[in-house]
């Protein structure tokens, strides 16, 4: 807005006194936040990168030293890393797609609800308010062959060991993830939905458009920015999945995610060099995902800013 309202013919390239002092004030106001961010994010990231270039193992304090990229080589040439990358992407793609469809349905219902809007919106949000570890335990108990209720349901084998093979373990993990985070997706979509002008729907109805046509021709195109932001948030989140898998299988039956792999190297083996290399690679993967969304799909985080 400032740029637009600034006097148009500024003296050739020269910045006015006022703009300069405003800029300085802007930086000053930002400074505390920038410094805090540097302390809590840049420092640990730099430290992790430093560790990833060394052979550090807390159990062998005498050994170690700078090893260059050999930790990265060890990770990237390991079949385990690529299996876990595949597992993580598999969970991410399926969970986020299901969440998008369910989230959209729930958002539409929440938007249209006439009675008890507040109650409806609050109750939909409940799963998102439950701590992930607690939710994971609840679902694990529900699916346990001896104590859970799931195997007592009709059409389900009483003896089914859900966490005993890869496919069914993934199914339960993904279901728990979807149950937990669909409300978040729905909420983000609802925010996009409320920005659409009702007049458009009325005009379309007058022109004889059906409900399906209105959804695909008006709702979806106008919601694209909101959908992409919601997808970006959930994809980044889901790629770092840890709690649910850690509680349910600890990565057994080939359900391990990259975060669990990092945890094993760092916390269980105390091999800080190798573990940090895994963490840095996860960080890079997250950056790549964000880049694809921003550049590939044109997500605009600062909608409406001039010059973008």
């Amino acid at each position: 807005m400032e740029a637009a309202s600034a006097p148009a013919p500024a003296p050739t390239g020269k910045v006015t006194e006022r703009t300069l002092s405003e800029r300085r004030l802007g930086w000053l106001l930002c400074a505390p936040a920038v410094i805090a961010m540097l302390l809590v994010t840049a420092y640990p990231i730099a430290y992790a990168i430093g560790l990833s270039l060394q052979d550090v193992d807390l159990r062998f304090p005498e050994e170690g030293g700078f090893v260059g990229l050999s930790n990265y080589e060890a990770v990237l040439t390991s079949g385990l890393w690529w299996t876990d990358v595949f597992n993580t992407l598999f969970v991410t793609v399926i969970a986020v797609s299901v969440e998008l469809v369910l989230g959209m349905l729930i958002a539409l219902v929440m938007h249209r609800a006439i009675f008890g809007r507040g109650v409806l919106r609050t109750s939909v949000l409940i799963p998102y308010g439950i701590v992930t570890v607690v939710a994971a335990f609840s679902w694990q108990f529900a699916f346990a062959p001896d104590t859970g209720f799931v195997n007592n349901l009709p059409l389900i084998d009483d003896e089914k060991a859900w966490f005993g093979d890869r496919f069914s373990a993934f199914a339960v993990i993904i279901m728990a993830e979807v149950w937990k985070t669909t409300p978040f997706m729905a909420l983000l979509l609802l925010a996009g939905l409320t920005t659409i002008d009702d007049g458009l729907y009325e005009a379309a109805r007058v022109d004889g458009a059906s409900a399906v046509q209105r959804f695909f021709r008006i709702t979806l195109p106008l919601m694209k920015p909101a959908i992409l932001v919601a997808l970006l948030f959930r994809t980044l989140d889901s790629f770092r999945i840890f709690d649910t898998i850690f509680i349910m299988t600890r990565g057994a039956q080939d359900t391990e995610s990259v975060s669990i792999l990092g945890f094993n190297q760092l916390v269980s083996r105390l091999n800080l060099g190798l573990g940090s290399a895994v963490s840095v690679l996860i960080f890079i993967a997250v950056l790549i995902i964000a880049f694809i969304f921003v550049r590939g799909f044109g997500v605009r985080m600062q909608e409406g800013r001039p010059g973008t």
Partner: protein, 404 residues
């Protein structure tokens, strides 16, 4: 500090008891609180043991401890260490060796197998506090005598249409089973802290047992996710003939499944090779003194008291934990705690083989879990491919190479 000295009370010296922090796994029967209070009292005001109770799962206990020890936290004085952590903690320089009279005192009459778990490179690093071992639980309304060998056991279970409960989830309990089988077959996983043994013949013999069970009708449906607890629940549900488990399962059945308990009998774990005595698993805790403690002398004194014969009998009485001192097995407290099977426990611990003693134990354990899980992957007729996978994984683990 001012507050602590202020507590001294009437003494002119003004020096109250020194606080010693004991980080140890919680015991539901109250053993820890009881022995801490007794030793503090017996110290005549020289120290007061404060408790920091850790979760029941060994992995979680270790995670909390290594985080503090790695940061050289001086708030830990005495560490309750699982028998598999000694080499790791000692090599990292986190715990102090015991010496002289105190070392002798805390190992008096202790099973040699247990002393082995508390030692690293010739030094003693832990005062044995309690031991533990697995026994074979069986239904004496289905079979008269405990089976001699694994082949007999699987055949008898199939015959009875019953299950055999073991621990084969991808976790430490699976390694406990694997180590017992390999040792019982006459092999061993490591022959030194960084030397892989895993002789082919005995190791394949042991692997065949795992595959044989996993592919037989005596395998529980949740075999690949089974733990001590699911084994206990499975046995109490009534469709099992045999169960390998720690002694807690006995007390659990008594309380939760009286019908099953009526026909519950206890025996020594079966052999892998006929006529070669089995070498049951060894669990338990040793007490170490932190290298970062500000009062190591007092900490040694307190740890010696916390692990003495009286303390061990308290652990047996309140929590059913087997003592580490052989002479205590004649004591009425132990005889009462394990009615009719105290001698089976004694014999099992006597013959037990510790899991590999190496600073890289976690790596070795993870490697074994990865190579052998799920148990049904092992072809009992041809275990060689899995054997080779295991060997390679353990070698990498000992050298701390690659991801695990």
């Amino acid at each position: 500090m001012a507050l602590v000295t202020g507590c001294g009370g009437d003494d002119d010296e003004g020096a109250g008891p020194t606080t010693l922090n004991w980080f140890v796994a919680i015991q539901p029967g109250g053993t820890i609180e009881e022995v801490a209070a007794r030793c503090s009292e017996e110290s005549d005001g020289s120290y007061e043991v404060e408790l920091e109770l850790l979760p029941t799962e060994a992995d979680q206990q270790r995670e909390q401890l290594v985080r503090r020890l790695g940061a050289e936290d001086d708030s830990i004085d005495i560490v309750g260490m699982d028998v598999i952590w000694t080499a790791e903690f000692a090599n990292a320089g986190w715990i102090l060796p015991w010496s002289g009279e105190q070392a002798q005192q805390v190992t008096e009459d202790v099973f040699p197998s247990v002393i082995e778990t508390a030692s690293f490179e010739g030094d003693l690093y832990g005062a044995p506090f309690n031991s533990n071992t697995q026994v074979l639980f069986f239904r004496n309304d289905q079979v008269q005598e405990p089976p001699e060998t694994w082949n007999d056991m699987i055949a008898e279970a199939v015959d009875q249409g019953g299950l055999i409960q073991v621990q084969a989830n991808r976790y430490e309990g699976f390694v406990v089973w694997v180590n017992y089988l390999i040792e019982s077959a006459g092999g061993e996983i490591l022959s030194g802290p960084e030397e892989v043994s895993l002789e082919q013949e005995p190791t394949e013999e042991a692997l065949s047992v795992i595959g044989e069970l996993a592919r037989s009708p005596a395998a529980p449906p949740n075999l690949s996710t089974s733990t001590e607890d699911t084994a206990r629940l499975g046995f109490e549900a009534g469709d099992s003939t045999f169960m390998l488990n720690y002694t807690f399962a006995y007390f659990s059945a008594e309380e939760n499944a009286p019908d099953i308990f009526e026909n519950l009998a206890v025996g020594v774990l079966p052999q892998v090779v006929p006529n070669e005595p089995s070498t049951p698993p060894l669990g338990g805790f040793n007490l170490g003194v932190s290298a970062f403690s500000e009062n190591p002398d007092l900490a040694f004194e307190a740890a010696a008291c916390l692990s003495n014969a009286d303390s061990q009998l308290t652990a047996t009485e309140l929590d059913g934990l087997p003592p580490t001192r052989q002479n205590l097995y004649q004591d009425q407290v132990v005889q009462d705690a394990f009615p009719g099977f105290a001698d089976i426990i004694q014999r099992s611990i006597e013959n037990a083989s510790p899991r590999p003693l190496t600073p890289a134990y976690t790596d070795v354990s993870l490697a074994i879990q990865r190579a052998l899980h799920p148990p049904s992957k092992i072809d009992p007729e041809n275990p060689t491919p899995v054997y080779e996978e295991l060997r390679e994984a353990v070698e990498d683990a000992v050298n701390r190479e690659g991801l695990l």
